[in-house]
């Protein structure tokens, strides 16, 4: 794999994570527990779409075959998507959505802070902008996990279930393949394994503040680095890509 191929594939992963997570959050629009939270979840989704746009556009330019952010978003199939499984799982309920936001934002907070030092100036710039957004995502997730954990019996149970059920999708966030190895060597991307202790600390602190149990890590789900996903991604994409696929000659 050339450096360029590795970088392309790697940026797709970042862009896909932002795009698919934003898709799930956008499904909350007009479905949130109350109006203010509807606006808040939409804001998160908008941050992520913006990030997906910047990243996929950059991926297209790195690839150099004239693919735009839209071609990359709307004309790739599920096996060509590289987002982590965690972000494609259906929202389930507010507790699951918030638990996922906690896991992901705690990871991205460390990740984008490190990516600011990338030898690739475009990635470094995107990281600096993204980091500000992520800090807010983390604060929002943290506060809600605490409220739910320290709220009613029901809310505590629901958020604990969410944390337990989706814990098995968290180690994939830190998985490294040959693209990582190659790019880490050149100082373009951070070593994901090195971010794990800080992530675990942040998540543990939040769960403790919410008087929730930290799950014991057991068997972990994997596959996305090779484009192997859950069944949910196919449905998500067929919905998202419907117009572009049905009218391939149209511009919108």
């Amino acid at each position: 794999m050339t450096q360029q191929e590795a970088l392309f594939k790697y940026i797709l992963r970042l862009g896909d994570n932002a795009l698919i997570h934003s898709h799930r959050l956008s499904e909350w629009c007009s479905n949130a527990p109350f109006l203010e939270e509807d606006l808040a979840l939409t804001n998160l989704a908008l941050d992520m779409i913006g990030r997906a746009q910047a990243l996929l556009q950059y991926a297209g330019s790195v690839e150099g075959k004239g693919r735009t952010e839209d071609t990359l978003a709307y004309r790739r199939s599920e096996r060509q998507y590289y987002n982590n499984l965690l972000v494609e799982l259906p929202n389930t309920d507010f507790a699951y959505t918030i638990a996922r936001l906690l896991f992901v934002s705690a990871f991205e907070k460390e990740y984008y802070a490190a990516l600011q030092n990338s030898a690739d100036s475009t990635l470094a710039a995107i990281a600096a902008k993204t980091l500000k957004e992520i800090k807010y995502h983390f604060a929002h997730a943290h506060d809600w996990v605490v409220r739910l954990g320290m709220g009613t019996e029901e809310s505590k149970q629901r958020v604990q279930n969410a944390v337990n059920d989706w814990w098995m999708y968290t180690s994939e966030l830190f998985e490294m393949d040959e693209t990582d190895e190659q790019l880490v060597k050149d100082g373009i991307v951070p070593d994901l394994k090195a971010l794990y202790p800080a992530w675990l600390q942040a998540v543990t602190d939040t769960l403790k503040a919410a008087s929730l149990d930290v799950p014991v890590s057991g068997y972990m789900q994997t596959g996305s680095r090779k484009g192997i996903h859950t069944e949910h991604l196919g449905h998500l994409l067929s919905e998202m890509q419907y117009l572009q696929r049905a009218y391939p000659d149209a511009e919108w």
Binding site: S30, I49, Y74, R147
Partner: protein, 320 residues
């Protein structure tokens, strides 16, 4: 007996003073004395307006996950978020009149409070998102601009903010329509079809002819309303028809023609029977929209309860 007389004459004096102030163009603030009928009229109108914004999120929300480009998705999401924000501003304005958001939502669910008829129509294709932005928001903005000078200050302040934020909404809808009219044959067909389905309901948004409008007199005397339904409708038609022509869309009204004498368009008769049917719950989506709102409200109950319980717990801790 004398006491009752006293109260009545005191009320009359207050009312006279109130109407004098309003006529002079003074703004009414929440703690000012106001006639009960004024308060009721405002609660009904503002809460209906708020519910319309919130229910209006549904037909557009129907296309968020299917928006055909990242840019389109971003814009649509931001726009729907604005509608939610506007609902929120309006609920807040209504709350200054002594009704809670909880009560207003209750009235929506029992059917006591209405919302705009237009949101009981379905969004069937992507062109409908263009048509809503262009026609529905275009109609709404005509009404809202007029309401910026309404006599009740919190309502007026909310409308000023809303108008400022809404200014991009109509443009985004028109842009979608214009793009589709420049596109493939299928896109053009989709756009014209959306135009055909949304034109008449958009005209109905201004409400019945003034002669048939039940609360019109009070609303004008108290300067809650500043222009008649027909005036606003005419204004909307006059500015929209040339926009349609510019991008090659046909207005689905064979009787539409320019009237030189009045300096505006004459148009065909609106189907008021359809209007009444939809108001009375028989529109294509009435049940679906309300059902959705109730379900979301019920599904979110445990979250709101948790937030309340957390507040109670932390309050106890800090006072201990």
């Amino acid at each position: 007996m004398d006491q009752v007389q006293d109260i009545v004459s005191k009320d009359r004096a207050m009312l006279a003073r109130f109407e004098e102030r309003v006529q002079a163009g003074d703004a009414v603030e929440p703690r000012d004395w106001m006639p009960e009928a004024y308060r009721k009229h405002l609660i009904r109108q503002i809460s209906q307006h708020a519910h319309s914004e919130v229910i209006g999120m549904q037909p557009e929300g129907n296309w968020i996950t299917r928006a055909p480009s990242l840019r389109a998705k971003q814009i649509l999401l931001a726009k729907i978020q604005d509608e939610g924000g506007h609902g929120l501003y309006l609920y807040s304005a209504a709350e200054t009149l002594g009704i809670t958001r909880t009560e207003m939502i209750g009235q929506l669910h029992t059917g006591k409070a209405k919302y705009s008829n237009i949101f009981n129509y379905p969004t069937l294709t992507w062109a409908d998102i263009g048509a809503i932005g262009w026609l529905v928001d275009g109609a709404a903005i005509v009404n809202q601009v007029s309401l910026q000078r309404t006599s009740y200050a919190p309502y007026s302040r909310a409308m000023v903010r809303i108008c400022k934020e809404e200014s991009f909404h109509q443009r985004q809808g028109y842009e979608i329509m214009a793009k589709m009219m420049k596109g493939t044959a299928e896109q053009k067909e989709m756009a014209q079809d959306a135009m055909n389905r949304w034109w008449w309901p958009s005209l109905m948004m201004f409400g019945p002819h003034d002669s048939d409008s039940p609360h019109a007199a009070d609303a004008f005397r108290w300067k809650i309303k500043r222009h008649t339904n027909d005036e606003l409708r005419q204004k909307f038609i006059d500015k929209t028809v040339p926009q349609a022509e510019l991008i090659g869309l046909t207005v689905p009204d064979p009787d539409l023609k320019w009237n030189d004498e009045k300096g505006g368009y004459d148009h065909g008769e609106i189907n008021w029977d359809e209007f009444k049917q939809v108001i009375n719950g028989n529109g294509p989506c009435n049940k679906q929209r309300l059902q959705h709102h109730k379900q979301v409200h019920d599904n979110g109950a445990w979250v709101r309860e948790a937030a309340e319980a957390y507040k109670a717990r932390t309050n106890n801790q800090s006072s201990n």
